[in-house]
Symmetry: C2
Subunit: 322 residues, 2 copies
Amino acid sequence: MGSVYNSVGSTNTRPVIAIIGCGAIGSYYGARLVQGGHDVHFLMKSDFATVRSHGLTVSSCNGDLQLPPSSLNIYSDVNAMPCADWIIIALKTTSNHFYHKLVSPLLKANTIVITLQNGLKNEEQLGHLFGAERVIGGVAFICVNRITPGVINHTAHGLIRIADFCPIDNCRVQDIAAVFTSSNIPCEAVEDLARCRWEKLVWNIPFNALTGILRLTTDELLSNANTERLIRDLMSEVIEAAKRLGVILDSDLPDRSIQHTRQMDSFRTSMQIDMERGKPTEYESILGWPLCAGTKAGASMPLVTMLYRMISAREQAINGVD
Amino acid sequence: MGSVYNSVGSTNTRPVIAIIGCGAIGSYYGARLVQGGHDVHFLMKSDFATVRSHGLTVSSCNGDLQLPPSSLNIYSDVNAMPCADWIIIALKTTSNHFYHKLVSPLLKANTIVITLQNGLKNEEQLGHLFGAERVIGGVAFICVNRITPGVINHTAHGLIRIADFCPIDNCRVQDIAAVFTSSNIPCEAVEDLARCRWEKLVWNIPFNALTGILRLTTDELLSNANTERLIRDLMSEVIEAAKRLGVILDSDLPDRSIQHTRQMDSFRTSMQIDMERGKPTEYESILGWPLCAGTKAGASMPLVTMLYRMISAREQAINGVD
């Protein structure tokens, strides 16, 4: 435990926690940490004014939460924030080019950077910028939407799995997991980050892409035998890609994943919401990087390729980017 | 020329022409035939009242047309129409279950039924109901949209290829082609209907489906290298399916087809318009039947299958049909 990257939690002081990116994920988990009595500091952009006036309202299947402005430390300027022990990054991956600007001012020697973002390559990018040993990857299995600024709706699931990007001290992820768990956030410290990421991609690739392109909710996709079959075919391609990269996923993962999805009822993924609103989607991190990694490793991914190509045309037309 | 199915045109009497289905295709070609001095009778549904008051307005790259109500024979009830020598069917294929109701009242012994509809199986269905020897298939290569009731916009191309479904008298298709051509409708009488249909499917399957699902115009699809590549991959599957069915298409068809599409500028296909308006699409005739025929013949069509499955979920969600 001699590392400078000891969990602050393990030394019995209260960690200063910065939440960067207050969409659904950042706001929800941040609110739970506030509820758990932690020292949380939110960097907000579009929601800042509303939350400063009205606080955070969370409807949740795990218990509602109403946090008045007086209970919240919120900021619109990262330079006004205190340096943090833990920086939890919940930005849309389309904003990863702001990593340097948003994270650097908060760093001290032993700051840990935890990304809860979607897809691949976030840990790599953070590692390049701030040192791989700081980085912890978190994979959130949760159905949560931001309804309007400051208003969050959590409808199902909620588990976070966290793992060191560059394993140096297994204790710190366990300490972080303990803090999360004590704040009503189910959290597991695991060892294999790649496995976690690919397990989520098995869900994210078919469901995010198809709900987005077709503008249909998860239950609408699963109420049609043709689409369920397509979802399973896409999952098979992702599982095969993971296997080529040395990540062996459980053979019953598609069944479990579809079963979990049925429990979500009528869920709108982030990609569906983005496409309906004409906003950029996270298609590069959710589809592009996995496709690149899988095909480089020799996997055949014609259906994922087709999804990627379809979304890229829509992104270009709507957002003027390729 | 002893057949009862002689072209009326060849006997120098003026054929009575019924147009069934007055969307973009039926209204455009019908208007050209009126302009050509022919005895045309339109069966209209949603456009009836407007056209009775204001006539038909056609903006066309081949010359504008304004047909006042007094120059048009229009009907809202098929039973009020005269029996026809030629019945030109331009219904959406989703209305093919009305064939019997809409065609039977117009038939006499030598009536010819010409379908200008999209996709496969229209000739078969008409043949089953009214006798295969009556049926002529027409494939329209045209960019035409119905802007509002009675207002048609023709922006590019316009050729019709016609062929006997059940070749019995090569002269009659040539006679019909001559009547069309004399009415400013480029028309070729050909022998191989299947080849025509599949040649159009090479265009229709990728462009109708992708413009529909992605809500992008043809030029938006072609401005993106990823989508152009996807379009070419889809075309290859369709060409392979045709080949398995004995239809050998030219190897440069994808290049020519994409080149023709670039000339269309910013075209919205019928499937794009239907999907944007939340209306049923012709996906069964354009994708479903070709997929069925191709895969039965041993073709591998994973990408077309994926398109079909995606659209079927959307149809079910929007229209409550599977």
